[in-house]
């Protein structure tokens, strides 16, 4: 007699033996005890959790010679017949290969005949999701009102493939994935029965690997048992299942933490030549980083991490090497690599690239730190956030240096070395500056510089009305943020000659702003907003007013004094003048 795999050998024969589905088995047992058995059931849930098994036990419970009872005897003729699958009254139909309307018609014909044993006739239709639409429809009437001796049990992994008309006619039971520790516990019991010594750690690994399917776990166990010698421990299991060892993952992530791209590649090369599956490596790395990430979120979340207590400490240690933000980005990288690996032309290369990139990434400053530093910088330069004008005014005293400045500005104030040397070698301009916060510095600086020069001529026009315009812009923020984005910082020229309130925009504004002012929709919106904030009779127009029309004393000193005067302030020019006793021509 050939060997029977564990999953078949230890297929539960009683409701109480079914692992982890108490909510289903108890309900079924109670229904049998209370003689309230429905005529049609649907068992659904992921693979290997006990759907078919539960269906068979139900059949036995109903047909057992000792009377319908929740605990079939498993000894009487009827029970053994059902267990062996040769009962005339329990028909197990493979829905995937008998999926047509003809098969269902035949089945319907047969339901009319009483059970050979006098009990119930149980039809177990497995993989019922594969039935064709016509077959489903042919089944409807029978499923609704079958003869009193007939009970249907439909089993499937994909209940959503069943038509609603079927679903509404059956009692549905959802089988849950089995918890890892339940699987591990069950494996332990079985190993005892098989008289095999196994570490809890090893069994837990198998259980995790099974991902909620008990049959998966048993298939894995079979595979391990067919090859292992003596005691089962974790390394043996890792080895036999071709898993990526914990040890390897720790050293790989250590290498990433040390920004040692070379070491990551060597480690990968080594494990690959030893026959590791690259997909497993990527999956293992992702899972490992996920654990680290979880621990970085809260060190008391150890329960969510698949690790024994001894290795949990190591996880904690390794977590401490990273910033949480870096970890989440690393995790993102690893997950992406893991997902693209299968479709990749050259998986090894893809993984190598990802690892080298991750090693580089772990050395870059996390975004939160950059933001922090920018804020600190802002504070040093003059405090309050809205003072971005003043920051810019100081940062760009009419020199065109504003643009390249920010990066230096960000890193300069810190006394400690920003990066380690290694990372400078691999450094590239891309990742640090490509996010919003650091960028916002040059933008606001440039903008503010244009503002400050613009503000000067306009600012003095009318103080009171100037604040009205500001108020208008402020309320625009809630109405049309895009327009506000375009217009904010615009200092309009306000003309109150007439009793109307006129807003004009100077020629120095940029094209986008001018365009906004020439759009009638914008103009109407602005006018109505101005009215709301209390301007009498507002009128918005594109300014054709001369810059000269502005009161001369409000001009900025630079405008007033002309280029020559300004240049004189420059120390170097001062030096030249002193040396040659010259003067600067206006």
């Amino acid at each position: 007699m050939s060997y029977l795999v564990l999953a078949r050998k230890y297929r539960p024969q009683l409701f109480e033996d079914v692992v982890g589905q108490a909510h289903v088995t108890r309900t079924l047992a109670n229904a049998i005890e209370a003689e309230r058995v429905a005529h049609a059931y649907l068992f659904c849930g992921p693979r290997g959790v006990g759907k078919t098994t539960a269906a068979r036990i139900l059949a036995k419970a109903l047909n057992c010679a000792k009377g319908p009872s929740a605990t079939p005897c498993n000894k009487c003729e009827r029970c053994t017949e059902i267990t062996d699958g040769r009962s005339f009254d329990v028909l197990e139909i493979d829905g995937a290969s008998n999926r047509g309307i003809d098969e269902v018609r035949e089945l319907r014909e047969n339901t009319r005949y009483a059970a050979a044993s006098g009990g119930y006739k149980v039809y177990i239709i497995d993989e019922v999701h594969m039935l064709t639409k016509e077959a489903f429809n042919a089944l409807l009437k029978t499923l609704e009102e079958p003869p009193s001796h007939v009970i249907f049990v439909l089993a499937t992994t994909d209940p959503f493939k069943l038509p609603a008309t079927i679903l509404s006619r059956v009692q549905r039971f959802d089988f849950a994935r089995i918890a890892t520790r339940d699987i591990a516990g069950h494996l332990k019991k079985l190993m005892k029965k098989e008289k095999i010594k196994a570490d809890d750690d090893a069994l837990a690994l198998v259980a995790r690997r099974a991902q909620g399917g008990l049959r998966d776990a048993l298939s894995l166990m079979d595979q391990i048992l067919s090859a292992s010698e003596g005691k089962l421990d974790r390394p043996a299991v890792e080895n036999l299942l071709g898993l990526v060892g914990e040890e390897f993952l720790f050293s790989l992530v250590d290498a990433i933490a040390d920004q040692d791209a070379a070491r990551t590649l060597s480690l990968l090369h080594e494990t690959y030549t030893q026959g590791a599956d690259l997909e497993e490596v990527a999956k293992g790395l992702t899972a490992h980083l996920r654990d680290l990430f979880i621990l970085s979120v809260g060190s008391d979340l150890g329960d969510l991490v698949d690790a024994s207590d001894t290795s949990l400490e190591r996880y904690q240690e390794q977590t401490a090497k990273f910033n949480p933000e870096t970890l989440s980005r690393l995790l993102d990288y690893a997950a992406t690599a893991s997902a693209t690996l299968r479709r990749s032309e050259n998986p090894r290369l893809t993984l190598e690239l990802a690892l080298a990139d991750m090693a580089r990434l772990s050395g870059l400053m996390p975004m939160s730190e950059i933001v922090e530093r920018v804020l600190a910088l802002e504070e040093r330069l003059g405090g309050v956030p809205e003072a971005s004008d003043s920051v810019a005014a100081k940062a760009s005293p009419a020199k065109a240096k504003a643009a390249p400045a920010p990066k230096k500005a960000v890193t300069a104030p810190s006394a400690q070395p920003v990066r380690k040397k290694k990372d400078l070698e691999l450094e590239t301009p891309e990742p640090v500056v490509d996010r919003a916060p650091p960028k916002s510095v040059p933008v606001s600086a440039a903008q503010a510089s244009s503002e400050s020069s613009e503000a000067a001529p306009a600012g003095g026009a009318q103080k009171l009305t100037g604040t009205l315009w500001d108020a208008c812009l402020e309320s625009l923020k809630t109405k049309n943020i895009r327009l506000w984005g375009t217009l904010h910082g615009v200092k309009a020229l306000i003309d109150e000659d007439s009793d109307s309130f006129q807003v004009k925009i100077g020629e120095r504004q940029n094209a986008l702003q001018r365009e906004a002012f020439s759009d009638p929709k914008t103009v109407t919106l602005l006018e109505s907003t101005l009215k709301e904030v209390g301007a009498p009779n507002p009128k918005v127009m594109l300014g054709d007013i001369q810059e000269g029309a502005v009161d001369p004393e409000t001009k900025s000193p630079e405008d007033e004094r002309g280029m020559g005067e300004v240049m004189k302030d420059e120390p170097i020019i001062q030096k030249v003048i002193d040396m040659f006793k010259g003067d600067v021509l206006p």
Binding site: D94, R99, S226, T428
Partner: protein, 374 residues
């Protein structure tokens, strides 16, 4: 001659099978998965033969007893082999055509099966393994074996089974009649249904190392390639002996050099126009794809140099040039270029106008500001 010892590098799988036989723990269903051409089918056949060999108690089947001889000619009535129909064969004149295709498919030069239509080989009706073929399998599995102890069903490229076919395998995979063994071979186990994976023991066949491939190529082929050629082919073959065998028959070194030249063409230079015209004239999309593969391989080597890694280079014969290129590239730039090649590959498969693809690649490889799509 299907023998375990013919299959190189899969000792751990063979140990496991041996252990299962020894302890009488052979399950009813296996999934053999691993890269193409690493010995999955060979092992499956060897296992079938071994199971029914009258002499052998360990290691290879004897090859001399009567069942063994039948297996070796693939004429044993209890060996069933299901595989997707070679795509280009349609209806009608099947047998001859398939025989020819099979001979071609079965790794010329490494070993050769004798194919006979008399053996019970069920073939899908269409290019995929269809439900019809599985129905045949179920029928066969329901009957007693003719003479063997264990009836073996080998399903090649099992991931190509249609949904219906795969589902109708489920019941039989779970509880087949005693004395049946199903072996599903696939290079893409992820494409199999969860419900199938959960019912089988999955054995992974590892990729062959480059050294193993080099050694095998030089040892087994009728015209052994030069060390340099073998090395390149092995690096490109990604652990698959059959892929490497195919590669050495072409002029790999020359192709590689062409690829490197191509990668460094300046856009709009006369050379680039010439190269594009040249490639277009060849009308060989496979060759162009290979060009991109070599490009990837080259960039991978540059990456290794950049990272300061001691992992041996694939293009170790041209190490100086790799190092030179490494001086002007950064890791993000390599990443970008690989993405460019990937995109080009997709365009190539999507049957995009050839000159367009090639010019685009040249253009994008040099435009460092370009961000490739996808």
């Amino acid at each position: 001659m299907p023998k375990f010892s013919e299959v190189i590098g899969q000792e751990s799988v063979h140990r496991l099978l041996e252990g299962a036989l020894e302890r009488d723990r052979l399950p009813h269903a296996y999934i053999f998965h691993g890269s193409p051409g690493v010995g999955k089918t060979t092992t499956a056949f060897a296992l079938a033969q071994r199971l029914n060999c009258l002499e052998a108690t360990q290691g290879d089947p004897c090859g001399a007893c009567s069942p063994c001889r039948k297996y070796e000619r693939l004429q044993h009535p209890d060996l069933h082999w299901h595989f997707p129909m070679p795509a280009s064969v349609k209806g009608g004149k099947r047998a001859e055509e398939i025989r020819k295709q099979l001979d071609e498919r079965l790794e010329p030069g490494i070993f050769r099966f004798h194919f006979s239509t008399a053996a019970s080989i069920a073939i899908g009706r269409d290019k995929d393994t269809r439900a019809g073929s599985v129905a045949e399998l179920r029928h066969q599995a329901g009957m007693h074996s003719v003479e063997a102890r264990t009836k073996v069903f080998v399903i090649s490229e099992a991931d190509r089974m249609t949904d219906a076919a795969a589902n109708s395998l489920l019941k039989i995979l779970e509880e087949p009649r005693p004395g049946n063994l199903l072996i599903l071979c696939t290079s893409n186990p992820g494409a199999l249904l969860d419900t199938i994976l959960s019912r089988c023991q999955a054995l992974r066949f590892r990729d062959l190392t480059e050294d193993e491939i080099v050694a095998l190529l030089q040892e087994k082929l009728a015209e052994p390639p030069s060390k340099k050629e073998a090395q390149l082919a092995a690096a490109l073959a990604q652990g698959s002996l059959s892929r490497a065998t195919g590669l050495v028959e072409e002029e790999v070194v020359e192709q590689r050099d062409r690829a490197v030249r191509f990668l460094n063409l300046l856009p709009d230079s006369p050379e680039s126009h010439l190269a594009v015209a040249d490639l277009v004239a060849m009308k060989d999309r496979v060759l162009i794809e290979r060009l991109f593969d070599f490009g990837d391989l080259w960039l991978g080597d540059v990456l290794r140099v950049l990272a300061g890694s001691s992992v041996p280079l694939a293009n170790r014969d041209a190490e100086a040039l790799v190092r030179e290129h490494a001086r002007s590239l950064t890791i993000p730039e390599i990443k970008r270029r690989m993405a460019v090649l990937k995109e080009a590959r997709r365009a190539l498969r999507g049957n995009v106008y050839l000159p367009l693809i090639l010019r685009d690649v040249i253009e994008k490889l040099h435009d460092r500001t370009a961000i490739p799509v996808g």
